[in-house]
């Protein structure tokens, strides 16, 4: 990965140097081993601080909306899921392709710090290094090796598009599309198997944790409205009270609003500070769309119509109860 | 059933004769089948009444002449009264019968056979007309 990181820095430096772009969006290392955060660099020398490691999970594409409001050209590093997010933003007219230079980074999968912490390996950790399918935890005491899958984000385990679907320059060789052993929709099916009451109890418990911080919304590449309907007092849908029904309303509508547009990057679940498994709502809809209208991978091909913006005469009709003509 | 070649001219003379005797035009028939549907004797027929006309339309006189149907027809005229195309099928049947019994040696019933077939309860008129129907 370090080899690629060098290439990231070099690419960024060159792009700023020869004026190809005015700004670079990449990642920088923070104070902790797990802290790789977005960086906005305009000076050539700043590129030295750019990194590419197993914690560059943050999706940079959505920052483009704000960045492109200025009349500049931006270079951005995008992983597989980020590239799909970029395409979705493109489809929603939120970014201008001509003003963006995409450096594609085939993604080997990111490491979930929460899983590291849970395994009790976080203490005294200095560095984490990841090779093909091994992860090495380095402490003062020495090194410990594990299978990388053990510490990968859940979303990375089911990732279908590790390689960027759109880019101007690819900085590394494409990685193999990981064929997951677990069934793709296992998480959704677990919930589907429950009774209505069990399902409701499950979701009420989840939703009631919500503090309405809107992190899920802010990170989501499909949630890109200028003004969210929940922020619009005139729309009269948002209640500010901390009651269960308001949270239920918000989360159901949020999931519906990204229906057919969710790129399944799983960022919503990742950023939720209280751990609501939001992606399970999105993935339910993706599963239904696949079943009813055929596979639609949002952000893979932006020229395809979104499932809710089109229809077919022969679509399934789960509603018709009686033959036409009444009794 | 083998394939048959239609040769409408084959029995043209006989066919013409039938049409002349009956004074009916078989081409008027649209094959609605109402004659068959109402025929009281259809159960004993090997070719149904509407098929008789169809065969005549196709010039298949032999099939009609050799059928049981023309002899089962009781000339009750039900078909005639009901035909929406104004065809008198009973007359056509009679015409077919006539062409047959008129040809040499084709009498259906000989005078000598009659006593054996007489049912004492049968009206005399029926016996006479039956004999007329089946003999030259």
């Amino acid at each position: 990965m370090e080899k690629i990181a060098n290439k990231v820095r070099e690419t960024a430096r060159l792009a700023l140097a020869n004026g190809e772009v005015n700004k670079i969006l990449g990642w920088k290392k923070g104070d902790f081993w797990y802290d790789s955060y977005p960086a906005f660099i305009t000076e050539e020398e700043g590129t030295a601080s750019l990194i590419w490691d197993s914690f560059c999970v943050a999706n940079l594409s959505k920052y483009l909306i704000e960045q492109l409001k200025e009349d500049i050209k931006v270079g951005v590093f995008l992983k597989g899921c980020d590239a799909r997010a970029f395409n979705q933003l493109l489809k929603d007219n939120r970014v201008d392709r001509d003003k963006v230079v995409i450096y594609g980074l085939p993604c080997p999968g990111m490491i979930d710090p929460e899983k590291v912490k849970k395994a009790g390996l976080a203490k005294g950790l200095l560095d984490v290094q990841k090779s093909e399918d091994e992860v090495v935890f380095i402490t003062k005491e020495g090194e410990q090796k594990f299978s990388a899958r053990e510490f990968a984000y859940d979303k990375c385990l089911t990732c279908q598009y590790p390689n960027p679907v759109v880019y101007d320059e690819l900085l590394a060789e494409e990685v193999e599309r990981n064929n997951t052993t677990e069934y793709f929709y296992q998480d959704v099916e677990e919930i589907e198997k429950m009774s209505p009451d069990e399902r409701f109890a499950y979701w009420v418990e989840q939703f009631s944790k919500c503090i309405r911080c809107n992190a899920c919304r802010n990170v989501c590449p499909a949630c890109s409205c200028e003004k969210c309907i929940f922020d619009n007092s005139k729309a009269n849908v948002a209640g500010k009270a901390k009651v269960d029904s308001e949270e239920q309303f918000f989360h159901i509508v949020r999931a519906y609003h990204v229906a057919g547009r969710c790129v399944d990057c799983g960022e919503c679940s990742r950023v939720c500070p209280v751990g609501i498994p939001l992606a399970k709502l999105n993935r339910k809809i993706i599963k239904d769309i696949t079943e009813f209208y055929g596979e639609h991978n949002a952000g893979v091909n932006p020229s395809l119509d979104a499932p809710l913006e089109t229809f077919k005469l022969e679509d399934i009709d789960p509603f018709e109860t009686r033959a036409k003509g009444g009794k | 059933m083998g394939r048959m070649k239609i040769i409408p001219d084959a029995k043209k003379k006989e066919l013409q004769q039938i049409l002349e005797i009956s004074g009916e035009n078989v081409k008027d028939c649209m094959q609605c089948g109402k004659c068959t549907a109402g025929c009281p004797a259809s159960s004993s027929m090997d070719i149904l009444p509407h098929q008789v006309i169809r065969l005549l339309q196709l010039g298949q006189l032999d099939k009609v002449a050799n059928s049981q149907t023309i002899w089962s027809c009781a000339s009750c005229f039900t078909c005639t009264t009901r035909c929406p195309r104004n065809i008198d099928l009973a007359k056509l049947m009679e015409a077919v019968r006539l062409t047959i019994i008129r040809s040499k040696g084709s009498s259906r019933l000989k005078a000598d056979d009659v006593p054996g077939k007489i049912d004492p309860k049968m009206p005399q008129q029926a016996i006479v007309s039956g004999f007329r129907k089946y003999n030259k």
Binding site: V237, A255, G325 | -
Partner: protein, 154 residues
């Protein structure tokens, strides 16, 4: 005994008066409801209709709001697919609410509480039948507590 009467007699034992909010498209289903009226076909008074120009005007927000505010069941009725006054509106309704209904069931709502049906202007019978059936099913399930705002007393 009509369902309406049945309900009245059963109300002595339980006090449950279910509320069904029905969104009806102006051109087919609302007219179908009117026809049920002109034909004097009975259905329970707990069904209350909101007129929309087309079933595709029904925003999922409206459905959620109805449940939030105490509806025990929600029905969306539009023209039969192919008959939409606006050519294709109900095809979108069909897709939107196929997904939405599944999502609502996924978060725990009973399938009987939310229905979509196609009722033409000539189907007064069907209108009454659909409403009677919806009410019967909701009545069996009892009052809806799911997605409901407890502050909102009906």
């Amino acid at each position: 005994m009509s369902l309406e009467n049945k309900q009245i007699s059963s109300e002595n034992t339980s006090n449950f008066k279910p509320l069904i909010v029905a969104f009806c498209c102006n051109w087919c289903s609302y007219a179908g409801a009117d026809l049920a009226g002109t034909s004097r076909l009975n259905y329970p008074a707990n069904v209350k209709i909101i007129k929309v120009p087309c079933s595709c005007r029904v925003n999922p927000n409206f459905v959620l709001r109805a449940f939030q505010r105490g509806a025990d069941g929600v029905v969306i009725a539009g023209c039969h697919p192919g008959d939409c006054h606006y050519t294709s509106g109900n095809y979108y309704t069909r897709r939107r609410f196929t997904l939405m209904k599944n999502l609502l069931e996924y978060v725990g709502l009973e399938p009987e509480r939310f229905k979509v049906d196609w009722i033409s202007a000539g189907e007064g019978n069907k209108f009454a039948a659909v409403m009677n059936e919806a009410l019967e099913q909701v009545h069996k399930l009892g009052p809806n507590r799911k997605l409901r705002d407890a502050r909102w007393k009906r």
